[in-house]
C-alpha cells in the first residue's frame, strides 16, 4: 500500500473569465473617459454628428449623380450647393413669415387678453375644485405669469435662434466641409475604418457596418420625411380651420412629430392656445383642432409611417418618456427633440451588433 499523495490546494482561474473581466474593465474605463471628456468634445461631436446625418440624408443623391457619370467630388459639391440654395430660398420666403407669426404670438400672449382668459379659467377651476383655506388658486399657481413666461420664453428663444443664424456661420462652414469630404470619400473612409479591424472580426465588422449604414440612412430619411409630411398636413389642416399663424404652428407640429407619443400632443398645444386666445368664446374650436390633429395622426400612422419609416425602431412609450427626460437634462429643448431619433440610432446599431455577434458566434 502506497502513501496517499499530498494534496495541493490550487486556485485555477479560467482564462476566458479573465479576458471577459479585462474587456469589462476596459469598457467601463472607456465609458468613464467618454463621460469625463464629453463637455470638452460635445461641440465637436455635435458638428460631426450633424455632418454624419447630412451625409446619410444627401449621400444617396450623390450616388444618383455618379450613376449619370458625374464624378463623386463634383456630385457632392452640386448636391451641397443645391441644399444651400433650397435652405437659402426657405430663409428668403418662409422664415420672414414664420418670424412675423412668432412675434405676433408673443405680442398676443403679452397683451391683456390672456390675463382675462386666465381669470375666467381660474374662476371656473375654483368653482369646480375645492381649494383648501382661503387662498385663491391664482395665488397658488399664478397661471397667467407662468403661461406668459413659458410661451414668451419659447417664442423669444425661437426668434433669437432664427435671428442669430449669422452667428453660427463658422459652425455651418465646418459642417459643410466635413459633409462634403464624407460624401466624397465615403467608401475610402469606410475602407480605412475596416482596415483597422483584426482578421477575426473583419467579415462581421464589414457586415455590421453595411447593415447599420443602410438602416440608419433609411431611418433618418424616414423620420425627416415623416416630419415634413406631418408639418405640411398640419399647416393645411390649420389653414382650413382658419387658425392664425398656421405656418408657424404647423412647422412646430412637424418638428414635434420627431418625438413619438409626446410629439403629437406638443404639436397640438400651440394651436389650441392661439385659438383660445383669439376666440375665447368658441371652445368648440379646441375640439375641431383636436379632431384635425387626430386625423393627421391617423394619416401618419396608417399611410405615411408604414411607407416612409423603417419599422425596426419601435420603442415602448415608457422608454420614449424616459429618453426625452434624459435628452432634456443633457441638452435642454434641443436634447428633447433629438433624444428619440438619437436613441433610435443607438437601438438600430445595438440590434445589428447583437445580430452580428450571434451569427458570427462571437457570443
Amino acid at each position: 500500500m502506497t502513501d496517499p499523495q499530498p494534496q495541493h490546494r490550487t486556485i485555477s482561474i479560467d482564462a476566458g473569465l479573465l479576458r471577459a473581466l479585462g474587456k469589462l474593465i476596459l469598457a467601463l474605463l472607456g465609458l468613464y473617459l467618454l463621460v469625463r471628456l464629453f463637455p470638452y468634445l460635445s461641440n465637436v461631436l455635435v458638428l460631426v454628428l450633424i455632418s454624419v446625418l447630412l451625409t446619410a440624408i444627401f449621400g444617396p443623391f450623390v450616388d444618383v449623380l455618379e450613376r449619370w457619370s458625374v464624378p463623386r467630388s463634383l456630385g457632392s459639391l452640386i448636391i451641397l450647393l443645391m441644399v444651400l440654395m433650397i435652405v437659402g430660398l426657405a430663409f428668403r420666403f418662409l422664415i420672414p413669415v414664420v418670424r412675423e407669426q412668432a412675434v405676433s404670438i408673443q405680442q398676443l400672449v403679452q397683451s391683456q387678453q390672456p390675463a382675462e382668459l386666465m381669470a375666467k379659467l381660474e374662476a371656473w377651476i375654483e368653482s369646480q375644485v375645492p381649494v383648501p383655506g382661503d387662498i385663491a388658486i391664482s395665488e397658488q399657481i399664478d397661471l397667467p405669469s407662468r403661461l406668459n413666461s413659458f410661451v414668451g420664453g419659447f417664442v423669444s428663444s425661437t426668434v433669437t435662434m432664427l435671428l442669430n443664424m449669422v452667428g453660427v456661420v463658422t459652425s455651418l462652414f465646418i459642417v459643410l466641409v466635413i459633409t462634403f469630404l464624407m460624401m466624397k470619400d465615403r467608401r475610402k473612409l469606410k475602407r480605412g475604418i475596416i482596415s483597422l479591424v483584426p482578421n477575426r472580426y473583419f467579415e462581421p465588422a464589414l457586415n455590421l457596418f453595411d447593415k447599420v449604414e443602410t438602416q440608419l440612412s433609411n431611418y433618418i430619411r424616414g423620420q425627416l420625411l415623416d416630419a415634413l409630411i406631418i408639418g405640411i398636413l398640419s399647416v393645411i389642416g390649420l389653414w382650413i380651420l382658419d387658425i392664425k399663424y398656421f405656418v408657424f404652428i404647423g412647422m412646430i407640429a412637424g418638428i414635434a412629430n420627431l418625438i413619438p407619443y409626446i410629439g403629437p400632443v406638443v404639436g397640438a398645444i400651440p394651436a389650441m392656445l392661439v385659438s383660445l386666445i383669439n376666440n375665447p368664446g368658441e371652445p368648440v374650436m379646441l375640439l375641431y383642432i383636436a379632431i384635425m390633429f387626430a386625423i393627421v395622426q391617423l394619416i401618419d400612422n396608417s399611410v405615411v409611417s408604414p411607407t416612409v419609416m423603417s419599422k425596426s425602431v419601435n420603442m415602448h412609450p415608457i422608454s420614449v418618456i424616459l429618453i426625452v427626460i434624459i435628452g432634456g437634462n443633457l441638452m435642454g429643448a434641443f436634447g428633447m427633440l433629438i433624444a428619440v431619433p438619437a436613441a433610435g440610432i443607438i437601438k438600430v446599431t445595438l440590434e445589428q451588433i447583437h445580430w452580428a455577434m450571434k451569427h458570427y458566434k462571437v457570443i
Partner: protein, 187 residues
C-alpha cells in the same frame, strides 16, 4: 521626380497594378475593361493572414469572395461530428466564396490560410453599391458570377450523369445476377 510639387496630380496611373492584374485573371471579372477593373480595385479590401488563421468559418453568413494574391488557402468541411475533410487547396490566382456575392446563405465550408497568405476581398454590399451607381459594370460582374456558377453546375451535371450511368449499369448487372441465381437450380 526632382520637384514633386510640379507632379501632375490628375495623371492617372498608366501601369496596371497587382490587384488589377489579379482581378483580370478571375473569370467573374473577365468582361470588365481596365477602367472598370480600376473601379473594382477601389472597392476591394486587402488582407494578410498568418498560417492556420481562419478566413471564414462554416455556417457563418456569407458576405463575399476572396482572391488569393500569394500563399495558399485550404477549404475544409466539417461533418456533424466535427470531423474535418480537406476539400481543396487553393494557390495564387484562385478564388473562393463567390456564391456569397449573390446572397447571405451560410458558408458551406471553412477557409483557412495554410501559410502566410495575402488575399483580396470583394463583398456583396460593394457589388450592390456598384450596381446602383454603375449598373453596366455591376451587370457584367453578376453575369460573370452566373457564368461561373453555370459552369460549375454543368460540370456537376456531367459528374452526376456519369454516376447515374454507372448506377444504371450496376443495376442491370445486379438484375442479371438475380435472374441467373433464380434460373440455376440449387446444387
Amino acid at each position: 521626380m526632382k520637384y514633386p510639387l510640379w507632379e501632375n496630380i490628375f495623371k492617372r496611373p498608366t501601369e496596371e497594378s497587382e490587384t488589377v492584374l489579379a482581378l483580370k485573371g478571375v473569370p467573374i471579372f473577365e468582361e470588365l475593361d481596365t477602367g472598370e477593373l480600376q473601379e473594382i480595385e477601389r472597392l476591394v479590401h486587402r488582407r494578410t493572414y498568418v498560417k492556420d488563421e481562419p478566413i471564414f468559418t462554416q455556417g457563418q453568413p456569407g458576405l463575399g469572395m476572396y482572391i488569393v494574391m500569394s500563399g495558399q488557402v485550404n477549404i475544409i468541411q466539417s461533418d456533424t461530428g466535427g470531423e474535418e475533410q480537406l476539400l481543396a487547396e487553393l494557390g495564387q490566382g484562385s478564388f473562393f466564396g463567390d456564391m456569397s456575392l449573390l446572397n447571405d446563405t451560410p458558408r458551406s465550408a471553412t477557409a483557412r490560410a495554410a501559410e502566410l497568405t495575402k488575399l483580396v476581398a470583394f463583398f456583396r454590399p460593394d457589388l450592390f453599391d456598384l450596381l446602383n451607381r454603375q449598373p453596366k459594370t455591376g451587370i457584367k460582374i453578376i453575369t460573370g458570377v452566373a457564368n461561373v456558377i453555370s459552369e460549375r453546375l454543368r460540370a456537376q451535371n456531367k459528374v452526376s450523369q456519369e454516376l447515374q450511368e454507372r448506377v444504371n449499369v450496376l443495376e442491370q448487372q445486379i438484375e442479371m445476377l438475380h435472374k441467373r441465381l433464380r434460373s440455376e437450380p440449387p446444387e
